[in-house]
């Protein structure tokens, strides 16, 4: 079976570790790529094909929304569905992200394995993966 690839962009290693375990339990055929900065994420996306991007909004030195803006001008990346994961959930911020065509906005902290699974399964591009 072909490997399924997902990219997480988050500067917090604890959140990346959480998702590494989450996807390992969910489907051993999913390979999770990790990036802690936007530069490393774009670099990775130039080399690898991924089916879904999980994006944190507040990175160490930059804002995730910059990635959404950048993505608009990059045909290859623009096609990849993005789910925003953030401890911020101000209405204005959510609205801005939705303008860039994100698939969902999931608030941190996550409520638990099953809840997160159900939430991701509502995204058609994710359902096709699992």
């Amino acid at each position: 079976m072909a490997e399924k690839r997902i990219l997480i962009i988050d500067d917090d290693p604890d959140i990346r570790n959480y998702f590494a375990k989450f996807f390992r339990v969910l489907d051993s055929n999913i390979k999770l790529h990790e990036a802690s900065t936007l530069v490393s994420a774009v670099d990775l996306l130039e080399r690898e094909s991924v089916s879904l991007i999980l994006l944190d909004l507040r990175l160490e030195y930059e804002m995730g929304v910059e990635f959404l803006k950048f993505r608009e001008d990059m045909a290859k990346i623009k096609k990849i569905p993005v789910v925003v994961i953030s401890a911020h959930s101000e209405e204005e911020m959510v609205r801005e992200c939705l303008q860039y065509g994100i698939k969902d906005f999931i608030k941190k902290p996550f409520e638990g394995f099953e809840q997160l699974k159900k939430r991701l399964e509502k995204i058609s591009s994710f359902s096709r993966l699992t």
């Binding site: 917090d12 604890d14 959140i15 570790n17 959480y18 375990k21 339990v25 507040r58 160490e60 953030s86 401890a87 941190k108 902290p109 996550f110 409520e111 638990g112 394995f113």
Partner: protein
């Protein structure tokens, strides 16, 4: 007095290292407090707020959020109390895992 928290087996290999990191981090936060480096406290607390509940420990997220807000307000008295509360909480919990 210790408090026992039951978590699903899913967390068994995730939560112990997470808690150890928080204990080490708290020492650093106390040092930051003494040095008046509230910006760093705010940044770290923001991450704690976002991760604690994901590891099955919502109280950690709650305290992280309160510390983040106290740092944002630059309220030293509240910040000191919250850092002490967080320290006590981490020292008091025992986590067990079940199917």
């Amino acid at each position: 007095m210790s408090k026992t928290i039951e978590l699903p087996k899913f967390y068994e290999d995730l939560t112990p290292p997470y808690l150890n990191k928080r204990k080490d981090e708290l020492k650093l936060l106390h040092t930051c407090f003494v040095e008046g480096n509230v910006d760093h406290i705010q940044k770290v607390a923001h991450k704690i707020a976002g991760s604690g509940g994901s590891y099955g420990l919502p109280e950690i997220s709650r305290l992280g959020k309160e510390i983040e807000l106290a740092a944002e307000k630059n309220n030293p008295q509240e910040l000191k109390e919250l850092l002490d509360t967080f320290t006590d909480y981490l020292e008091s919990i025992e986590v067990v895992y079940k199917d």
